[in-house]
C-alpha cells in the first residue's frame, strides 16, 4: 500500500512540476528562448509572497491577487528591457544573459533574505488531508495545487487557441518576419508572452513555498524539474507537459520509496531514459 500511496503523492506533486514547466514551455514556444533564470524567478515569487503575506496578512490564496500581477508586470519589463535584446540567430546571448540573471537573482535573494530556509504559511490547508481508502491520505494543499495546475494549463490552451493574442503568439512563433508585416509588434508580443509566463511562475512559486521549504539556492533544481517535465512530455504540447510532470513526480516518489537518497536521482534517470529512447518526448506535438 505504501507503493500506491507513493504513486498517488507523486501524481499530485506532478501538478506542481507541470506548473514549473508550463511557463518554460510557453516561452520556448513563442520566442525560442530558454530562460535559465526560470527556477530562480519561481523562488523569487515565493519570497515576494512571503513579504506580501507578512505585510498584508492575507492568506496564501488571496495573496495570489498581488503576486501574480506583480510578476506579470516584471515579466513584461524584463522582456522589453533586457531579453528582447538577446534574441536573434545566436544561441549564446539569451543563454548567457539569463544565466547571469540567475546568478544575480540568487545572490540578491541571499543578500537580502540570508540563506535561511523559509516556508509560506497556509494555515489549516497545510495539514488538512482526507482519506480515500486503503490507508491513503490526500493532502488538501497538494490536491489544490494539482487542480490549479490543470486549470492553468487549460487557461493557457484557451489563450493560445481561442484568443487574438494567442493567435499572434502562434503566428510570431511560426514566422516572426511575416508576423511583422501583419502589423504585429514583435517586441510587444514577446513582452506579453513573458508576462504570461511569469504570471504562471508566480503561481508556481506560491504553491512551491507553501508546500516545501525554500532558500535562495532552490531555483536551479526547479528549472531542472520543469525542463525534465517538458522533455518527457514532449515539446510543444502543454498537456504533454502535465503528463511529463506527473511521470517525473511518480518516478521521484518511487525512488524515494526504494531509498530516501534516491529521490532526485530516480527522476533524473527516468528523464535520461526517455531522452535515450524517445528524444522527442512521449507526446510531442505533430508538426503540420
Amino acid at each position: 500500500m505504501e507503493w500506491v500511496n507513493a504513486v498517488v503523492q507523486g501524481i499530485l506533486v506532478g501538478g506542481l512540476y507541470a506548473l514549473f514547466a508550463a511557463g518554460l514551455s510557453l516561452i520556448f514556444g513563442v520566442m525560442r528562448l530558454v530562460n535559465i533564470a526560470h527556477g530562480d524567478l519561481i523562488v523569487l515569487s515565493a519570497y515576494i509572497a512571503l513579504l506580501t503575506m507578512q505585510a498584508t496578512g492575507l492568506d496564501l490564496m488571496t495573496n495570489l491577487i498581488i503576486v501574480v500581477p506583480l510578476m506579470a508586470v516584471l515579466g513584461y519589463a524584463l522582456q522589453r528591457g533586457l531579453l528582447n535584446f538577446t534574441l536573434g540567430r545566436d544561441i549564446l546571448p539569451p543563454l548567457l544573459v539569463t544565466f547571469g540573471l540567475s546568478i544575480i537573482i540568487q545572490n540578491g535573494l541571499l543578500s537580502y533574505f540570508t540563506a535561511d530556509s523559509r516556508r509560506l504559511r497556509s494555515g489549516a490547508l497545510e495539514v488538512s488531508s482526507f482519506p480515500i481508502g486503503g490507508g491513503i491520505d490526500i493532502g488538501v494543499l497538494p490536491l489544490i495545487t494539482f487542480c490549479i495546475a490543470v486549470g492553468v494549463i487549460a487557461l493557457l490552451q484557451f489563450v493560445f487557441y481561442a484568443t487574438p493574442v494567442g493567435r499572434a503568439f502562434r503566428a510570431t512563433s511560426d514566422d516572426p518576419e511575416v508576423a511583422r508585416i501583419m502589423g504585429i509588434d514583435n517586441r510587444h508580443i514577446f513582452g506579453l508572452a513573458m508576462a504570461l509566463s511569469l504570471a504562471v511562475v508566480a503561481i508556481a512559486g506560491v504553491f512551491l513555498g507553501a508546500r516545501t521549504i525554500f532558500d535562495p539556492a532552490s531555483g536551479p533544481a526547479r528549472l531542472l524539474f520543469g525542463f525534465e517535465a517538458v522533455i518527457i512530455g514532449g515539446l510543444g504540447n502543454l498537456w504533454g507537459t502535465l503528463a511529463g510532470g506527473i511521470i517525473l513526480g511518480v518516478a521521484q516518489a518511487i525512488g524515494a520509496q526504494i531509498h530516501p537518497g534516491w529521490q532526485l536521482l530516480a527522476g533524473h534517470i527516468v528523464f535520461l531514459i526517455v531522452l535515450a529512447v524517445r528524444p522527442r518526448g512521449l507526446f510531442p506535438r505533430v508538426e503540420g
Binding site: I36, N107, L223, I231, L275
Partner: protein
C-alpha cells in the same frame, strides 16, 4: 587555364611571432616561480592555471564548436573523484593518475555525449546540467569515497608524492603549469588543424559545410569527448591541489561553470586569447571585490550581461576589431599572386568569430 593565379596560404603574422617569443619568456619565468616565489604564490598561480585551462576548454566547446554546455562541472568532479579513487583504493601517486583521470573522463563522455547530443541549443545546455546533477547525486551515494560529506586524500598517499612538503608543492605547481600549457596547446592545435577549419565552417553555416562533406555530428562529438577528457584532467589537478573532495565542491555549478563562463565571456568568446585575458580580469576582480560576498557575484553576473549585450566579442574581440591583432594565428590568409599583377592578400574566414562574414543582417 594558364592564367590561373598562384596562391599560398599562411597562418602566422609578425605580431604573432613576436607574441610567441614573449610567451616563451613568460613560461620560463612562470616555471621558475618555486625559486622566486613562495607557497601562496604557487597556490594562487595554480588556481589561475586551472581556471585558464577550464576556460580555454569551455571556449573550444561553446565559442568554436557551438556546444554551449553548462554541465562541464560533471567532468571536473569526475576527474577529481577518479584521482581520489586511485589514491584511496590503490594508493597510487596522484601525479601519475592525473592523465588516467583524463582518459576515463573522455571514456565516460562517450555515452553521455550520445545522450545529450539528442538535444540542441539551450535544451542541450540544460541537459548537460542534468547530467552533472546525476553525477553529483551518484557520487554522493558512494560511501567508500566519502558519501555526501566527502573525503580527504589519504595522508600516506600525500606523503608518498614527494620527499618533503616544499618538493610536493613544486611538483603540483609544475603539473598545473604543464597542464595549462598542454590544454592551450591542444586547443590551438585543434583550431589550426583541418578539424578546426571544419569547426569554423560549421559555425558559419551548417548546411553549407555539410554539403561540402563536413560530418557535423562526428566533428562536434569528437571535440566534446576530447574536451571532457581534458576537463577531467584539470579536475583531477584541482582536487589534488585542494587535497579534499566532496560532491558539492566537485560538481559545483558556480565554481566550475559560472566563473568559467564569466572568464570566457569577458575575455572574448571564440578567440583563443580570450580566456587568458578573462582569467586575469576575473582574479583581479576577485582580489578586489570578494569581500563583498554575494554582492560580488551579483557584480560578476551584471558585468557578464553587459558585456554579452554591448561587447559580445569580449575584451579581446574588441581589441581585434580595433587593431586587427592576433596572438594565436589561426586565421588563414590567402595570398594571390600573378594574374592581377601585384600580390594581393585576402583573408579567408578561418576566424572563429564567424558571425560578421556573409550572414544576412536581420533587421530588428
Amino acid at each position: 587555364m594558364s592564367e590561373a593565379a598562384r596562391f599560398r596560404v599562411t597562418q602566422s603574422t609578425r605580431t604573432s611571432q613576436v607574441a610567441a617569443i614573449v610567451a616563451l619568456a613568460g613560461i620560463v619565468v612562470l616555471a621558475a616561480v618555486p625559486w622566486w616565489g613562495g607557497r601562496s604564490e604557487m597556490l594562487l598561480l595554480g588556481q589561475i592555471f586551472a581556471y585558464l585551462a577550464l576556460a580555454s576548454l569551455w571556449n573550444l566547446l561553446a565559442g568554436f564548436t557551438g556546444l554551449v554546455s553548462i554541465g562541464q562541472q560533471a567532468y571536473v568532479g569526475f576527474g577529481g573523484y577518479m584521482l581520489f579513487a586511485f589514491a584511496i583504493f590503490a594508493g597510487i601517486n596522484p601525479l601519475l593518475t592525473i592523465p588516467i583521470a583524463g582518459a576515463l573522463g573522455a571514456l565516460v563522455a562517450i555515452p553521455v555525449g550520445m545522450l545529450v547530443f539528442r538535444l540542441s541549443g539551450a535544451y542541450f545546455a540544460i541537459g548537460t546540467w542534468v547530467v552533472a546533477e546525476v553525477f553529483r547525486l551518484s557520487f554522493a551515494q558512494v560511501s567508500a569515497l566519502g558519501g555526501g560529506s566527502g573525503n580527504s586524500l589519504p595522508a600516506h598517499v600525500v606523503r608518498g608524492m614527494a620527499p618533503d612538503r616544499d618538493m610536493r608543492d613544486m611538483l603540483i605547481y609544475w603539473a598545473a603549469l604543464a597542464i595549462a600549457l598542454a590544454v592551450i596547446g591542444f586547443v590551438y592545435a585543434i583550431l589550426r588543424s583541418r578539424q578546426g577549419l571544419a569547426l569554423t565552417a560549421i559555425r558559419d553555416s551548417e548546411p553549407a559545410s555539410e554539403s561540402l562533406g563536413v560530418n557535423i555530428w562526428r566533428t562536434k562529438f569528437i571535440v566534446y569527448v576530447l574536451s571532457a577528457g581534458a576537463t577531467a584532467m584539470v579536475g583531477a589537478l584541482i582536487f589534488l591541489q585542494k587535497l579534499r573532495i566532496s560532491p558539492d565542491a566537485a560538481f559545483s555549478v558556480n565554481d566550475w561553470t559560472a566563473y568559467v563562463i564569466f572568464i570566457t565571456v569577458i575575455g572574448g568568446i571564440g578567440r583563443i586569447e580570450g580566456p587568458l585575458i578573462g582569467t586575469v580580469v576575473y582574479f583581479l576582480l576577485r582580489e578586489l571585490l570578494s569581500d563583498l560576498g554575494p554582492v560580488y557575484l551579483m557584480i560578476l553576473g551584471a558585468v557578464a550581461i553587459v558585456v554579452m549585450l554591448r561587447a559580445p566579442r569580449g575584451i579581446w574581440g574588441f581589441v581585434v576589431e580595433r587593431y586587427g591583432i592576433e596572438l594565436f594565428p589561426v586565421q588563414r590568409r590567402l595570398h594571390l599572386e600573378g594574374a592581377g599583377g601585384s600580390p594581393g592578400m585576402r583573408r579567408t574566414g578561418a576566424s572563429a568569430a564567424g558571425a560578421d562574414a556573409a550572414s544576412p543582417a536581420k533587421p530588428e
